[in-house]
């Protein structure tokens, strides 16, 4: 990315906050997301959840989804108890971002995007737990927002990004390769600038910035490495960008794996084959959860299909 593109991106991203569609809770929510987990104010989060009926309803759907336990939950307070404060903030955040996107700017299919993002969140968190990374909820958030740059590209470079996706699908290539060719920067660059602009902690910014760049990973910190591996795993288990990629991954030789290997001894005994099967098992629930929260239509169709069989 050259300097001219970079300063142009900075300016345009700074103006994103004035999108007419951005929900009013985005600003206070961003403030909360900058806090360390133990300082998140419970009552403030309840207030944010309850402020917007549609968002409150989506929170309840998430709390009642099979991915997070299928208890019947009726109030914002019990949803927060069930999901945990950090999880609720992550959810609120993705709902806000989803709402902020003008409808005609969704170049990537929103369901595909959120399936990949939520998939990556769940996988990053599971991997974090498997290797005893101390902040699994932060890992979840890192996975959830690692591809935010794609939405920036959707809004600011709509036609060019559409062309990136088209060519990437046609050539079965990773999207960032086409972004580099066509835009001159990738969703990692735009995601990094947005995350920094929103004041996210440095390791979250680095996860967005470095998750496709093997040269940066050894110094980017464990979170970026976890997200890098989870992103790849999601993409070989049908939670990718919505088109077929030709991939053959030797994760054990991957630089992120090697980097984590040296600082997290639990990685040495990790059963990757079993971990992959666990992800495959959770995939249906990730899909169902996203469909129930972000895609009313899809769920209704599925229900209708279920009713007729």
């Amino acid at each position: 990315m050259n300097d001219k593109i970079q300063s142009q991106l900075h300016d345009r991203i700074a103006n994103l906050d004035s999108l007419p569609t951005a929900p009013t809770i985005l600003t206070p929510l961003l403030e909360i997301l900058r806090l360390p987990s133990e300082k998140i104010p419970f009552e403030k989060v309840i207030e944010l959840v309850s402020l917007d009926g549609a968002i409150a309803a989506q929170c309840l759907r998430m709390a009642n989804s099979p991915l997070f336990g299928s208890r019947y939950i009726e109030t914002a307070r019990s949803a927060i108890m069930a999901l945990g404060l950090e999880r609720v903030c992550s959810l609120l955040f993705s709902l806000c971002v989803n709402r902020s996107m003008p409808r005609d700017k969704w170049v990537i299919d929103p369901i595909t995007f959120w399936r990949h993002s939520l998939g990556c969140a769940v996988v990053t968190q599971n991997m974090a737990k498997a290797v005893n990374y101390p902040e699994p909820e932060k890992a979840y958030l890192a996975g959830l927002l690692h591809d935010l740059g794609m939405l920036v590209n959707c809004i600011l470079y709509t036609d060019d990004f559409r062309e990136c996706l088209r060519q990437a699908a046609e050539q079965h290539l990773p999207i960032h390769i086409l972004e580099e060719q066509i835009l001159g920067f990738t969703h990692c660059d735009s995601g990094q600038i947005l995350c920094a602009h929103w004041g996210f902690p440095k390791d979250l910014i680095d996860a967005a910035r470095c998750h496709h760049d093997v040269a940066l990973l050894p110094t980017a910190g464990p979170l970026a490495c976890l997200v890098h591996l989870s992103d790849l795993l999601c993409r070989v288990r049908y939670l990718g960008y919505g088109y077929d990629e030709i991939l053959a991954l030797d994760l054990g030789s991957d630089v992120a794996w090697q980097t984590l290997f040296s600082s997290y001894p639990a990685f040495k005994s990790m059963d990757l084959a079993r971990f992959t099967l666990d992800i495959e098992g959770a995939m249906d629930q990730i899909v169902a959860t996203v469909d129930s929260i972000f895609g009313n239509k899809v769920v209704e169709n599925k229900k209708a299909a279920a009713a007729t069989t």
Binding site: I246, L251, G281, A282
Partner: protein
Amino acid sequence: MPVEIAKVKVGSVPESNPADPAYLKIRDLIYKVSGIYYSAEKLYLLAARCARRMTVLNLATPAEYLERLLLRTSDAEQRLLLNEITIGETYMFRHPAQLDALREVILPQILQVKGSTALRRLRFWCAGCSTGEEPHTLAMFLLEQRDKLLTGWTFDILATDLNDNSLEMARTGVYGEYALRNTSHVLRRKYFKDVGEKKLQANELLKSQIRFDRINLSDDSKMLFQKGIDVIFCCNVLIYFDLVSKRRVVQHFYANLMPGGYLFMGHAESLFQVNETFRLIHFPGTTAYLKPAVSQAAGGAK
């Protein structure tokens, strides 16, 4: 109490609630003895398999069944459960993701490496081919690639099993609707002939692609004899082997393969702690084990 009576009534359905913690223990036991793994979301499948055995044994709860599996003389019961687990696993085109990986990545890689040598020949081995669905699938797949990827190349498929009856059925090549459920009408017309009673038989072209042989995978002398294989399929066969024998067979496979060759196992089958020399490679929807070529050994994921 009427409830108790209902529970022990002959023919009653045994308890098969997959949330029962006993199933987690059965899952872990099966993983340890066989390498087959059920994720939390697939436990209901394991519960259904167990339920069939529990009905036969007239056991009411998974905890009782777990106890039976853990008895000192439990090898036979473990084997019977593994039989239940693999029932219905074999039909043609059971794992399209494996064939996609072959077409998109593995064959192009191997063709490139071997392209520099004079002998343009690929060798495949279905080890433990049972009644032949897998080698017939592979033969159809490769025949379909003759004018595409494999222009100018020849291939042979060795299909082996220990069981003479299975081998005889595989050689005859007669299959019913279940075995052909994933086989398109185009392929059926091209590679099979109708032999009545809703059964199809592999035609001469298809049959001539496969060489069937009886091989015991534990027979070291025969295993040492197999050389220069490019891809081995060994799906749900090693699950019946104890760890020591399994290690030996997999080590043989490693020696049998060309550098850059691949070993495919069953979808839910893992080689964790069985072998450290193969590299686990993830493809879309499937995984395989790679014997690294010298130059690939230090490579990483993209």
